[in-house]
């Protein structure tokens, strides 16, 4: 049994040596991730339950999401294999639309989220560089449900990179969805961008 242990140690040593060469993939401490979700959640709930005009609330939500979500990393993950097929202009446009869809979607549900509350569940390390924080969300008049937030370290700051509801990861689902739209649009990223623009137009009506 000494051989595997030895080789593992050697591997560990090699990994340590190569660490400085790796990009900044810092560990995400579950407690830190939980504190981050607690703070962000409180902020979000505060805006959702406020009586400010819709425009003001939307601006506040946009501000919170921009600060707490890794828009670029998540957007790139979701575009997946099509990221490299996209031109730099399309990439930039995609990230802009992705952020807009995220904000508009949440903003279009302000009414439903009146009186929303949440409680922090457990937080656990998922991979080397991200942690999963469980929250229990309660809306008046409907059953409580759990949402798991995947938090990663992005340039030294905790950022949301995924949302898991009912065992389904939103970024995985959205990656399939967007890829299907591109493929059905003749393998053109432009087809997705068009569909996203239409969606935003619909949501802002």
């Amino acid at each position: 049994m000494t051989t595997p242990r030895l080789s593992r140690r050697t591997l560990f040593g090699a990994a340590l040596l190569s660490l400085p060469a790796l990009p900044a993939l810092a560990q995400m401490d579950p407690a830190r991730a939980a504190a981050f979700i607690q703070a962000t959640g409180q902020e979000l709930v505060g805006v959702l339950n406020s009586n400010a005009p819709v425009e003001r609330r939307r601006a506040a939500v946009a501000d919170i999401l921009r600060r707490s979500v890794d828009i670029e990393g998540t957007g790139r993950f979701i575009l997946g294999r099509w990221w490299r097929a996209a031109s730099p202009a399309e990439q930039a446009e995609f990230l802009r639309l992705f952020e807009e869809v995220l904000i508009r979607n949440l903003a279009s549900r302000f009414g439903e989220y009146q009186g929303v509350q949440f409680a922090l569940g457990r937080a656990q390390q998922r991979t080397e560089d991200d942690a999963l924080v469980t929250t229990i969300v309660q809306r008046p008049g409907s059953a409580a449900f759990t949402l798991d937030w995947r938090v990663a370290d992005v340039n030294g700051q905790p950022r949301i990179v995924d949302l898991v509801a009912e065992g389904a990861s939103l970024r995985l689902t959205q990656r399939s969805e967007y890829s299907a739209v591109i493929q059905r649009g003749g393998n053109q990223v432009a087809a997705l961008l068009n569909a996203m623009r239409q969606q935003i137009a619909q949501l802002s009506r």
């Binding site: 309660q138 008049g141 009912e166 065992g167 389904a168 969805e177 967007y178 890829s179």
Partner: protein, 265 residues
């Protein structure tokens, strides 16, 4: 008849374009995605999705909306509890078949408590007073635990997202349920139909918001439901659900879910 013509065109489409053409082997990423989606029958499935949409729009969804509007929440909860109590023997059998004695014990204890103190299952006393939340199991999950693969993704009208394994599981659970062979006569027959009808209403009502949301926000609801269903099944099979998963999600097809505890273990 729109429905009939839709069915006919679906049958036609199935013959014409039942199978999807896989991407060429040279496009490795596309091929990888094609395999990961596990949907070689996509053209057929999309046709069935349309058929289901038609049925859902004219019948199932309106029925669920009426059910939600007319039946007060406490009664709906009672009906949901009673329906999931009736599923307890099925859950118990699958707990045992999956060699999960602790979960089997909980299912059995809940059935005894809720059938008696819970007035025939209407009140979930086991969770409320004994802190024993329920969970669901089905034979599709048991087959998965035994190592059987899911087979190609299937979307079927009314049943919704599925696959050969889960479909077989659904049939086995339906046939093996003790309520199918206990009792006879018109009253029993009527009760069976009532249960069947209520199960459909309850299930559709439960996913009303989720499906409305998918329809509203997804650029391709077919793909969203496929992805959501397959991911959720994986979590269910691994028993990472139960207490952590209070509301059954995207599947129209998951029949007779147990409402459970919002508090994580």
């Amino acid at each position: 008849m729109r429905l009939r013509s839709a069915l006919l065109s679906a049958a036609f489409l199935m013959g014409l374009a039942g199978c999807a053409t896989p991407p060429p082997a040279t496009d490795r990423e596309a091929l990888q995605e094609f395999r990961a989606n596990n949907d070689p029958l996509e053209p057929f499935n999309r046709a069935m999705f349309q058929v289901n949409d038609a049925i859902d729009t004219v019948a199932l969804r309106p029925a669920a909306v009426v059910y939600r509007t007319v039946v007060p929440p406490p009664l709906r909860t009672g009906i949901r509890n009673a329906l999931s109590n009736l599923r307890a023997p099925t859950v118990l059998a699958n707990d045992i078949l999956q060699a999960q004695p602790e979960r089997a014990f909980r299912t059995a204890a809940r059935f005894v408590i809720n059938s008696t103190l819970g007035l025939g299952g209407l009140i979930d006393v086991a969770e409320w007073q004994f802190g024993m939340p329920g969970h669901t199991e089905d034979f599709g999950q048991t087959l998965a635990v035994w190592g059987l693969g899911e087979g190609p993704y299937l979307f079927l009208p009314v049943i919704g997202p599925s696959n050969p394994r889960d479909l077989a599981g659904l049939a086995v659970d339906a046939v093996a349920s003790p309520w199918n062979w206990i009792g006879q006569g018109e009253v029993v027959e009527a009760l069976r139909w009532a249960r069947f009808g209520l199960t459909i209403l309850d299930t559709r009502e439960e996913v009303l918001d989720v499906l409305d949301e998918v329809r509203r926000t997804s650029l391709d609801p077919y793909t969203t439901i496929r992805s959501g269903y397959r991911q959720r099944r994986q979590t269910e099979i691994a028993n990472r659900t139960g207490a952590e998963m209070p509301v059954p999600s995207t599947g129209f097809g998951s029949v007779g879910q147990t409402p459970s505890d919002p508090n994580p273990r």
